[in-house]
């Protein structure tokens, strides 16, 4: 057994309190069962507290040792904070309360850690890719100030999310890029099984009885449930419509950014913070952030869909007696594009349930804030209780002007009175004091710890913040780069690239904007009444533009853009700043946009980590596929040149393919895309017409090479090779 140890800060008061509680027999779980995980006295979060919103008589199942992981977690005795520092490839240990002058201790988990979970005296950390070319779950034991590695369990590559079962005997781990979920026996410290699930599984949690696990995904609105995990695991898709109150009526929207899953203490409600692509809201071309709620007892969504013919009544009979402002406001309130509430956060990245208040705390990666939401509502997003600013621009900024960039993880202290927030882009953990009573939050002082030194490359350091930040004046237009390119990957979404013509009789310029929904594009055009849509008709709006993966694909000088219209990455970014914000990204004569582009390039080329590819040599079938790929007879490599990231970066005419809701783009030519990481970036083509690589190879109609002449086994081999790129 590999053993590594590291000294931890030890809080004697909290430590002795824990020992005292243990001596009194205080703990969770079935007292008759022998759990492998001792020392569970000071558990927070999943203790059987009654949230204010829960009516009496509800099931109060004690969920014991069930935990969902995050990038940081509080030790069971409340004395330490563990942080999975993915960018620094370290596991940090900080004493509590946070002390800016105390340097954290660290250990090397053998790769980039993604999440950490604490169960009793056991600390679990997922590692995305080890030196051996696998993912891993590393099991540590706390022993008198030491953190000792007790086991290292190899898992499918890109191990990311972790959760423990109510009895503490099992852990479930998601492997993001390889799209698998694994069950680990923590008593035997071994992998029990792995199962294929849809793309990018991330958040994971157990049901109240431990027989099922629920999984969220970065791509798509469905959750995954795996039933009967102890015997014959079965993978089931669970429909969870995203932001139904803010969707166009009768439409089911796609979702993204499903990093986290959280339950209430009773485990009858499952909360899925994510992004509703195409959700309606004020100026929200990109959609809306949301928390969707599933009833875990029957796997049904709590919120009903928005109705086409829902009731509304307004004071029309005497509207004419009011001034124009009221009339316009009334029209807006009654229009179909307006939805309930406003988005109060952007790019949800992590969440935790706050038992004493019956609320959810959500870390907003894009807006540098933590929001507290009413968890009793069918759409908690609409029940903002408080917002805690942790960014540099907020009045509650961390002392000394230190900014919390990219709030990526959140953990709750055992007393429910402090939230610890992981600020990934600025290498900080900050403490946010939470009021225990209703009322306004008056910005109490915050504590923080810096766990890594900033990069000496100032451009890189700023670019790292800009990549996640949603509200930079020049770059983001309400959604950060990471909002569509989570981890530098893609959201699997096909956007509406809408071209607006100048208003008749004016000197206005044509401009283009992306929209998550064609409905919103139409409505905005109607609002303006000055920008008719050039590429829209009664059946569809905007050209199809699928989000591409960018991590590891930006080494080339250029050209970039769907039609290779930008010679360099700088010019592509500058164009992008406009594309996402009505051609209004600030003063075009200003030096800021080019500076911003330079800073972002420094980060996206060096800081984004490529998806972890299988390091094993090609097998026989894959080798055969490679031969087919490079053969003159088939011709794939003519355009997808292996030496230049599997692209020649030139344009070719492609057939139109009418996609429902979009405007057909006839006779268009597109730049040959890179095939790097193509195995994990479904759907395919600019319009997402093919759901799988098999469809691409079997059904492309010789638009890409001459694959129709291949027999089934050759096509299968070609697909196998493509998965290795």
């Amino acid at each position: 057994m590999l053993r590594r140890s590291v000294k931890m800060p030890f809080n004697p008061i909290a430590g002795f309190a824990t020992l005292a509680l243990l001596a009194m027999g205080v703990g969770c779980g079935d007292e008759n069962s022998s759990t492998p995980l001792a020392g569970s006295a000071a558990l927070s979060g999943s203790a059987a507290a009654t949230p204010p919103g829960a009516p009496p008589g509800d099931p109060q199942a004690v969920t014991g040792l069930a935990r969902e992981g995050a990038s940081l977690a509080v030790s069971s005795d409340g004395a330490r904070l563990y942080l999975a520092d993915e960018d620094g490839a370290k596991l940090h240990i900080m004493g509590l309360p946070l002390d800016a002058s105390a340097k954290p201790t660290s250990t090397d988990p053998g790769g980039r850690p993604a999440q950490v979970a604490v169960v009793g005296s056991t600390v679990l950390a997922t590692v995305r890719m080890t030196k051996e070319g696998t993912g891993a779950l590393v099991v540590y034991e706390e022993k008198l100030g030491d953190l000792v590695e007790a086991a290292r369990i190899a898992l499918p590559r890109d191990a990311w999310g972790v959760a423990t079962s109510p009895d503490g005997k099992r852990a479930a781990v998601t492997s993001a890029w390889t799209a698998q979920v694994s069950l680990i026996d923590l008593e035997q410290k071994k992998l029990v099984w792995s199962r294929d699930v849809p793309r990018e599984p991330r958040g994971v949690t157990f049901s109240a009885d431990g027989s099922s696990v629920y999984v969220s995904h970065l791509v798509g609105a469905n959750l995954t449930r795996i039933d009967d995990v102890g015997n014959q695991p079965r993978v089931v898709a669970v429909e969870l419509p995203t932001a139904p109150a803010r969707s166009p009526a009768a439409e089911k929207l796609p979702a993204s950014l499903g990093y986290a899953l959280v339950t209430n203490p009773e485990r009858d409600r499952l909360y899925a913070p994510r992004h509703a692509l195409g959700g309606l809201g004020m100026n929200q071309w990109y959609g809306v952030a949301t928390v969707d709620v599933l009833d875990m007892t029957d796997s049904k969504p709590l919120a009903a869909p928005r109705q086409v013919n829902a009731h509304k009544t307004f004071i029309k009979p005497f509207m004419e007696r009011f001034d124009t402002r009221v009339q316009i406001s009334l029209w807006s309130a009654a229009s179909d594009v307006v939805t309930v509430g406003a988005s109060v956060f952007t790019q949800p990245r992590a969440a935790v349930y706050r038992p004493t208040q019956g609320t959810l705390l959500v870390a907003s990666e894009g807006s540098g804030a933590v929001v507290e939401l009413d968890a009793s509502m069918s759409d908690p997003t609409l029940g903002l209780v408080r917002s805690y600013g942790v960014s540099a621009s907020s009045s509650a900024a961390v002392p000394d002007g230190i900014a919390c960039g990219a709030a990526s993880g959140i953990a709750l202290a055992a007393d429910d009175g402090t939230a610890y927030v992981h600020c990934r882009a600025t290498d900080l953990v900050v403490a946010v004091l939470l009021p225990q009573t209703p009322g306004d939050y008056d910005s109490p002082p915050q504590r923080y710890v810096r766990f890594a030194e900033p990069s000496s490359n100032a451009d890189y350091a700023m670019g790292r913040q800009l990549f996640y930040q949603a509200n930079d004046q020049y770059v983001s237009g309400g959604l950060g780069c990471a909002g569509c390119h989570p981890d530098g990957r893609d959201d699997g979404f096909v956007w509406h690239e809408v071209e607006f013509a100048p208003k008749e009789g004016t000197q206005g310029a044509t401009f283009t904007n992306f929209f998550g929904s064609g409905s919103l594009a139409r409505s905005m055009a109607a609002f303006w009444n000055s920008s008719p849509i050039k590429n829209g008709n009664e059946t569809g709006v905007g050209y199809t533009r699928q989000t591409p993966i960018i991590a590891g694909r930006l080494k080339s000088k250029g050209p970039y853009g769907w039609r290779a219209e930008n010679k360099t990455l700088d010019s592509r970014l500058l164009a992008g700043f406009d594309l996402h914000r009505w051609n209004e990204s600030g003063n075009k004569d200003s030096a800021f946009p080019p500076t911003r582009a330079r800073q972002l390039i420094a980060f996206v080329r060096e800081g984004l980590v490529s998806p972890p590819l299988d390091p094993a040599p090609l097998n026989a079938e894959e080798t055969r596929g490679k031969e087919i790929f490079t053969s003159e007879k088939v011709g794939c490599s003519t355009c997808h040149v292996p030496e230049t990231d599997y692209t020649n970066r030139s344009v070719a005419v492609f057939s139109a393919f009418p996609q429902r809701g979009y405007f057909e783009e006839k006779g268009a030519s597109y730049k040959t895309p890179s095939l790097l990481f193509v195995g994990g970036s479904a759907p395919y083509f600019h319009d997402g017409r093919f759901a799988t690589l098999e469809d691409v190879v079997f059904k492309n109609g010789d638009q890409m090479g001459k694959t129709s002449q291949l027999d089934a086994s050759e096509k299968k081999a070609l697909v196998a090779f493509l998965r290795r790129l």
């Binding site: 100026n283 009833d295 007696r321 009221v326 406001s329 069918s378 029940g383």
Partner: protein, 216 residues
């Protein structure tokens, strides 16, 4: 909402006004009683002992009806029939049971909730510009706003006339509704505006004994 309004204004008042007639009214009221302050309908006033009795008031100056929250049962303690019945008629609401629901925001504190059979009526007393249903089925749902406007001569009459709005909906296991009141507000410059007011969220998950009703 305010930002959207700003966009509309920037885009041209004429175009917006041209479509004012679209999609403005549906779910027409079945009766015209004022829910919060008027004397047109016999009101239920809490007695000194805390019990509820019917009384009538003829003056708009009478303060809005308020229930003594402390004596109200929690919604979870009220027996809600599982059988389906028809929507209550106007007069039936006099016998409704005031209940306590979640009202965590100051603006929701003035609203009241009453239960009759498997129906709930939520009433809020502000001058209302309108009410919208966002999610949930439309059967057995009714929205009412007051005043009706026929007697108003000036726009600021809305602040002196009986006003408010009611939402009536069924409480049934597995069903979920969401509504929003929009109030007429007086702006800093003396003009009028329309603002989002109380949000009403109703859900009854299959596993829960009682529905969850949140007014925020």
């Amino acid at each position: 909402m305010k930002r959207l309004f700003a966009i509309v204004l920037a885009g041209g008042a004429a175009s917006a006004a041209a479509v004012l007639g679209l999609g403005v009214v549906s779910g027409a009221p079945a009766y015209s009683a004022a829910p919060g302050a008027s004397g047109r309908v016999p009101r239920m006033q809490p007695s000194a002992s805390g019990s509820v009795s019917a009384s009538a008031s003829a003056s708009a100056a009478v303060p809005p009806r308020r229930f003594a929250r402390v004596n109200m049962p929690e919604l979870a303690d009220v027996e809600i029939p599982t059988t389906r019945s028809g929507k209550p008629k106007r007069d039936e609401w006099q016998a409704a049971q005031p209940v306590r629901v979640s009202q965590p925001t100051p603006r929701a504190k003035d609203c009241t909730a009453v239960v009759l059979r498997e129906y709930m009526k939520v009433s809020c007393p502000k001058p209302m510009a309108g009410i919208r249903q966002f999610i949930g089925g439309i059967k057995d749902v009714e929205l009412f706003i007051y005043p009706k406007g026929q007697n108003l001569t000036q726009s600021f009459d809305v602040f002196t006339e009986p006003n408010g709005g009611d939402i009536v909906f069924p409480l049934r296991r597995g069903e979920n509704y969401m509504f929003q009141f929009f109030e007429i507000s007086q702006e800093y410059d003396g003009g009028f505006g329309v603002s989002e007011h109380v949000l009403v969220d109703i859900s009854w998950a299959g596993s829960r004994k009682a529905p969850t009703v949140v007014l925020r």
